[in-house]
Amino acid sequence: MKSSLILATTVKYIIPLLLIFSFFLLLRGHNEPGGGFAGGLVAAAAYALYAIANGVEEAEKFLSIEPLKLFSFGLLTALISALLPLLAGKPFMTGVWLDNKIPVIGKLGTPIIFDVGVYLLVLGVSTKIIFSLAQEEE
């Protein structure tokens, strides 16, 4: 696949921005618009851009972890976040929050971990789909 120089150069600068924005969406998601799903999609968009600019194989290397692993870990993270309250002696899936606020991130709690799981899952599934479709075309 022939790639354009303009795109390849722009992508270099855009990707960090997109990834940071995806983290931002992930972390603010619990109380405001955003969340793991939206964040994961934005991150997947970053990798999709990279794949368009540099080819799928390069993008797979850039992701450096198999999408399949990514979404398995995502599911596992979500499950763990649902099980953590049991350690605190509360029923399954109850939201448990730390009392103290952490600067920038805000309050930490199991719903955030759940969101991280969703983020990984969405990123994994979307990149898997995008890479497979792009490979088919090549």
Binding site: L68, S72, L75, L79, P91, F92, M93, T94
Partner: protein
């Protein structure tokens, strides 16, 4: 916590399998472990429900009716136990029958996800959550159906998915209207609020939406045509679990909503159900009579048997519903077993076509016996489980004076026997046609043992239910009493929220 385990345990093991995606050997072992664990959890849950009544769990500490409640009454607990038994049998059976290609594409994680979906549907106490579990089930069953990618499979899968999506859409529409009417999605809360709503026509309309939606899922007349078009295409292990469990989730849902939520106009709704039951029985068995492929015959018999269960619901008396529940127990075991035997036959002969089969009794007399047990039970020959199931439903029908449906059901029983004799004659009794290609079981002795183990296990359960039916029937009767007394359910779910 016990209520969550049947859902998260298969989920957890499915994730573990996904982490070791390329290691199919690990998949096989984890799959067995997961299925065995499910049996333990299911039995624990069942004994808990049996001893201390309806169990309720409010997920995430959000109290009903605001959060999602998981509820296990006896009916749910029974279904969970059977699901785990069937899941285990299929897990063992697939070790010998599923090819490496399918294993590589994640057959085992999908199987566990499917079981998670089924368990979720049985346990949820929230009507929208039920929809979600249906989707989980639908997605994993779609992939299981299409996995392998042969033309015939895809053809069946497309029909299956299209109709099930249609059913989901109707279901969702029904849920939407219901929410508009009552402002709640919790089933117990719906049951409490709907009688107060002054709009009975609307309620009946919604109940018909649900009847159609669940009717498609459970393959009742005239919405069953997707079933014989798709169930004979995947490998035997998949067919078996589909045949045993998937349509019964539809029947379970019908039983749940038409004993808990839509009981405002039983004269109308349950009469319709009864009529549907009659036609379902008849059309299923007539369809089977015209088929010459073992799996197609068995598929049509699923439909006619669904009729009996729905008949129990339509008659709507304590004995009838107990009969319906007993029928479900008996049917799941027997039908799965028949599909497993069918798979074994094709493993030996390489075909499902009755015309090409024959002489199996000479070669494998034990297989013949193992076929006869579920087959005769399906036809309702005493003293096997099917006899008691049919007997109860028929007796309930006679008690209520519904002679037409009783006559239909007895006639259908006769035709079922005819169908089973047909398979027996063609596959086992007659001489093998000369052009038979395969006539030896290809595979090691261990594989043979693995193939027969679940068949023997399920046959033993059938015999046990037959000769020792009283405890099983007792439980079915208690479950039916719970169903016909919705206040128990409502109090169990909403009573917790007042604490």
């Amino acid at each position: 916590m016990l209520l969550v385990l049947p859902i998260i345990s298969p989920f957890f093991f499915a994730i573990i399998m996904m982490l070791f995606w390329n290691n199919t050997k690990a998949h096989r072992i984890i799959n067995l472990v997961s299925s065995a664990a499910s049996i333990i959890f299911a039995v624990m849950l069942f004994s808990n429900v049996n001893n201390s009544g309806i169990q309720v769990f409010q997920v995430g500490s959000w109290q009903a009716p605001f959060g999602i409640s998981l509820v296990a009454d006896l009916l749910s607990a029974i279904m969970i136990v059977i699901t785990s038994v069937i899941g285990f049998s299929t897990a063992v059976y697939s070790l010998a029958t599923i090819d490496h290609e399918r294993e590589k594409f994640g057959f085992y994680p999908l199987l566990q996800t499917l079981l998670m979906g089924i368990n979720g549907a049985f346990l949820t106490g929230d009507i929208f959550n039920l929809y979600v579990w249906f989707e989980v089930m639908l997605i994993s069953s779609f992939v299981l159906l299409a996995l392998g990618g042969r033309k015939k499979q895809l053809e069946g899968a497309i029909k299956y998915v299209t109709l099930n999506l249609l059913s989901s859409a109707l279901f969702l529409a029904g849920v939407g209207i219901l929410y508009g009417l009552a402002g709640t999605l919790n089933m117990a809360d719906l049951a409490r609020k709907l009688p107060l709503i002054d709009n009975p026509e609307m309620l009946t309309l919604v109940s018909m939406l649900f009847l159609i939606a669940f009717g498609i899922k459970s393959a009742v007349f005239p919405l069953y045509f997707w079933l014989p078009a798709s169930y004979h295409t995947p490998p035997a292990a998949v067919s078996a679990i589909f045949a045993g469990l998937l349509t019964k989730v539809g029947v379970y849902s019908l039983m749940r909503v038409f004993t808990l939520i839509f009981i405002n106009d039983t004269d109308f709704t349950h009469t319709i159900i009864l009529v549907i039951a009659g036609f379902t029985m008849l059309s299923g068995v007539l369809g089977a009579a015209s088929q010459m492929d073992i799996r197609k015959i068995l598929s049509f018999h699923i439909i006619s048997q669904i009729g009996y269960m729905i008949m129990g619901l339509g008659l709507y008396s304590p004995l009838a519903i107990a009969g319906g529940i007993f029928y479900i127990i008996h049917h799941i075991i027997v039908k799965t077993n028949l599909f497993l035997v069918g798979g074994a036959i094709s493993k030996i002969r390489g075909t499902y076509q009755l015309k090409k089969l024959g002489g199996l009794y000479k070669l494998y007399p034990i297989l013949g016996l193992l076929f006869l047990i579920p087959a005769l039970s399906l036809a309702g020959i005493p003293p096997l489980s099917g006899f008691w199931a049919k007997f109860t439903v028929v007796k309930a029908g006679l008690d209520l004076g519904e002679f037409t449906i009783v006559a239909v059901s007895l006639f259908v029983g006769l035709l079922t026997l005819f169908s089973m004799t047909k398979i027996w004659n063609e596959a086992f009794w007659k001489d093998a046609p000369s052009e038979t290609i395969g006539n030896k079981f290809s595979g090691s002795n261990t594989q043979k043992a693995i193939l027969f183990l679940p068949i023997v296990l399920l046959a033993l359960i059938t015999i046990t239910i037959g000769f020792y039916m009283e405890p099983f029937f007792d439980i079915a009767q208690q479950a039916s009493e719970q169903l016909l007394n919705p206040n128990l359910y409502i109090d169990a779910v909403l009573g917790v929220s007042n604490e």
